[in-house]
């Protein structure tokens, strides 16, 4: 295993953790404030699982380098695989998942996408945490540059940013 990428990944993770620590110190301590993503399943979505940024940063991180319709050139996005996040609440077997953004925009995505492609919930872009002003803090990102078939309006509509909730349908 190459040493430099591992060190870089740990360095990035350490930076994220440091920023989180600074944010936590600067803002009033509140459990609700830290929750960025909620997973829910079952009838009326009674089963839920909340993720903080620290929870997501603690998961195995994957970096994909890709372009998209909203950025210039290739950008390196880092974050946990969507299928890893879904597995935390056994949502990986759900046929379709609804991803909802902070502005209530939502998109329904078949779970097969996450088995076929290494889509991630990006928390960093080019090593910097995604801010809310820059489509963060969580942005669903597909490896578009690696798979030509992903260059379609349907897939671009699934690159939902400021995502706050994932639920099974």
């Amino acid at each position: 295993m190459p040493v430099k990428p591992v060190l870089a990944a740990w360095a990035r993770r350490a930076a994220v953790m440091a920023i989180l620590a600074i944010l936590a110190a600067a803002r009033p301590a509140s459990a609700d404030d830290d929750i960025l993503l909620t997973l829910s399943r079952g009838p009326d979505n009674v089963e839920t699982l909340a993720f903080t940024l620290a929870d997501l940063a603690a998961m195995p991180q994957v970096t994909i380098r890709t372009d998209n319709e909203w950025t210039d050139g290739l950008v390196s996005y880092t974050g946990p695989l969507v299928r890893d996040v879904l597995e935390r609440l056994a949502l990986q077997d759900a046929l379709t998942l609804r991803f909802t953004a902070a502005n209530d925009y939502y998109v329904d995505i078949p779970s097969s996408d996450f088995r076929r492609y290494d889509a991630i919930i990006a928390i960093e872009a080019d090593g910097k945490p995604l801010s809310r002003r820059d489509k963060g803090p969580l942005w669903v990102m597909y490896p578009i540059s690696e798979h030509g078939e992903l260059r379609s309006q349907e897939i671009y509509s699934r690159l939902i940013w400021q995502v706050v909730r994932i639920e099974s349908l």
Partner: protein
């Protein structure tokens, strides 16, 4: 019916390819346009900006009524989201298109500049700073109109783009229809041409077949004529040779004997020519088949030598090269015929002392070499005729060419090769290679059942060879072949006794028996020693 010109087919093909290319590129262009236009979902981005601006204003209104930190935090969140929508225009392909719609109006730039201005104000805002909140509410009202006009421009542009797509689709559909109709017309034309060409080809095939059948019939008629004539000529010729033989046995003077001898030689030569004619007719008719059987190379050598001697070439040197297998598999009669024809043919141009014949084997084929010394150069055309006969048309065959013709035909039938090569000492070598696999030599033990010991002695002398041994009359050891003279009294009891005595042996009748079924093989004319020998050896080998 005139043949369809090839260039017409090429033109049709090129035209079809051209139409196909036009159709393909037109459709591909329209599909690409559709894809690009459908991706430019800028209307959604524009409306989102309006919605987020309203939500931001709403959050300010709630802050003004609640005056709480939570409400202020909600205002800041809504501000961030609005920011993310407005500043989409700064990056990416979507941003580029958004800026394009704002060209000459600056609506997005104005609201972006305003957001940058109030950003520090908002960060420092106190929940109870009603004056600032109200001022921002008033200022934001103006941007509602700007964004609405921007959205309207996007809607109109979207409408124009949709109309363009519709026009393109309509145009594309028309082009596709025209291309399809043209392709169908060309296909029909091609089909017509193909059918026409097909009919012409079938007519040509029919005519060719008819001509071939006529030629075949003509060839068969000639072959039959040749066969019939050679038969018809052979009978009177035998009628001449018979009396000549009888005359030769009478008391003749030296001159008369010489004349009779010459007449007999000419007669035999003519008989041989007639046999050659028969073979030629069979070759032309496709009825000449080889009968492969094991044979002795030494016996082949003897047969050739005897045949040549009877035709006046007794001094010719014929030998078997060292290392040649004793026995080979092949049609020995035809092989003998080939070498007799070739040798006699070259002897017409070379003295006997200048010609020699040798037999060898190269591992796969019997190789016969007729070595020719230097002779009369004016007769070399005979060799050219021998080697180049395949290039001569059948109707140009001359009397001289009959022997080479038959030889070459027999060599071809045996899948052999004929070549003329330069040998040592300026000699020329006619090399004939005939496929013949070596046959394992086995000794054959024969029991002779004859009515007299004299007859047994005659057969023993005739069949004597290194492969054959004869059992003593009272010998009870197993034998391979039992030769039974059919004049022996009482065939049935004799055969029962012999079969009991020699179980597993091959029983051959010498002469036509009363009951051929009780024998394994019948040699009707036992005086034909060569035939008897071949029959015995081939049956034992099989």
């Amino acid at each position: 019916m005139r043949p369809t010109p090839r260039y017409l087919g090429l033109i049709v093909l090129l035209a079809m390819a051209g139409f196909a290319a036009v159709g393909f590129f037109t459709i591909r262009r329209d599909v690409e346009d559709l894809r690009v236009i459908s991706q430019d979902n800028i209307l959604w981005s524009a409306t989102q900006m309006e919605v987020e601006l309203l939500r931001f204003e709403l959050s300010l209104a709630e802050l003004r009524s609640d005056l709480t930190e939570e409400a202020l935090e909600d205002v800041r969140e809504r501000f961030d989201i609005l920011w993310s929508r407005v500043f989409l225009m700064n990056r990416g392909r979507v941003g580029q298109v958004m800026r394009g719609y704002d060209e000459g109006f600056g609506s997005l730039k104005k609201i972006a500049t305003y957001l940058e201005e109030i950003d520090p104000v908002l960060q420092a805002l106190h929940p109870e700073d009603i004056v600032t909140i109200e001022r921002m509410q008033v200022e934001l009202e103006g941007f509602q109109q700007e964004l609405r006009l921007y959205t309207l421009r996007v809607v109109r542009a979207d409408t124009v783009a949709s109309a363009l797509v519709r026009d393109r689709i309509q145009s594309s559909a028309q082009t596709t229809a025209i291309v399809s109709i043209a392709a169908v017309l060309l296909s029909v034309l091609s089909l017509f041409l193909i059918l026409r060409e097909n009919r012409r080809q079938r007519e040509l095939v029919r005519l060719s077949r008819q001509h071939a059948e006529e030629a075949e019939l003509s060839s068969r008629a000639k072959s039959r004529f040749l066969t019939m004539m050679s038969h018809e000529l052979r009978n009177p010729l035998n009628g001449v040779l018979g009396p000549l033989a009888l005359l030769d046995q009478t008391e003749l003077g030296g001159v008369q004997q010489r004349l009779v001898g010459q007449a007999q030689q000419c007669g035999r030569s003519m008989l041989q020519m007639l046999a050659g004619l028969l073979d030629y007719a069979e070759m032309q008719d496709g009825r000449l088949f080889l009968v492969r059987a094991p044979f002795s190379v030494a016996e082949l050598c003897n047969s050739v030598r005897e045949a040549l001697a009877s035709d006046g070439a007794a001094d010719l040197a014929v030998k078997v090269l060292p290392g040649t297998p004793d026995r080979l598999d092949g049609d020995v009669d035809r092989i003998c015929q080939i070498f007799v024809h070739l040798t006699e043919y070259v002897l017409e141009a070379r003295p006997t002392e200048n010609v020699s014949l040798s037999f060898g084997h190269d591992g796969k084929a019997l190789v016969g070499e007729i070595s020719l010394g230097t002779g009369d150069a004016t007769m070399d055309w005979k060799l050219d005729l021998l080697m180049g006969l395949s290039d001569v048309a059948a109707d140009q065959v001359s009397a001289d060419a009959l022997r080479p013709l038959i030889s070459r035909g027999l060599i071809a039938t045996a899948r052999g090769m004929l070549s003329l090569e330069d040998g040592p000492g300026g000699r020329q070598v006619i090399r004939v290679s005939l496929p013949a696999a070596p046959v394992k030599s086995e000794r054959i033990r024969i029991h002779l059942e004859t009515r007299s010991s004299a007859l047994a002695t005659i057969y023993q002398a005739a069949l004597r060879s290194e492969r054959v041994t004869f059992a003593e009359p009272e010998d009870t050891e197993p034998v391979d072949v039992v030769l039974v003279d059919t004049t022996s009294v009482g065939e049935d009891p004799l055969m029962s006794r012999l079969r009991e005595r020699f179980p597993g042996a091959l029983f051959v009748s010498l002469g036509l028996p009363q009951k051929p079924d009780i024998f394994d093989d019948v040699v009707e004319i036992p005086s034909d020693v060569n035939g008897l020998r071949r029959s015995i050896f081939s049956r034992v080998a099989s």
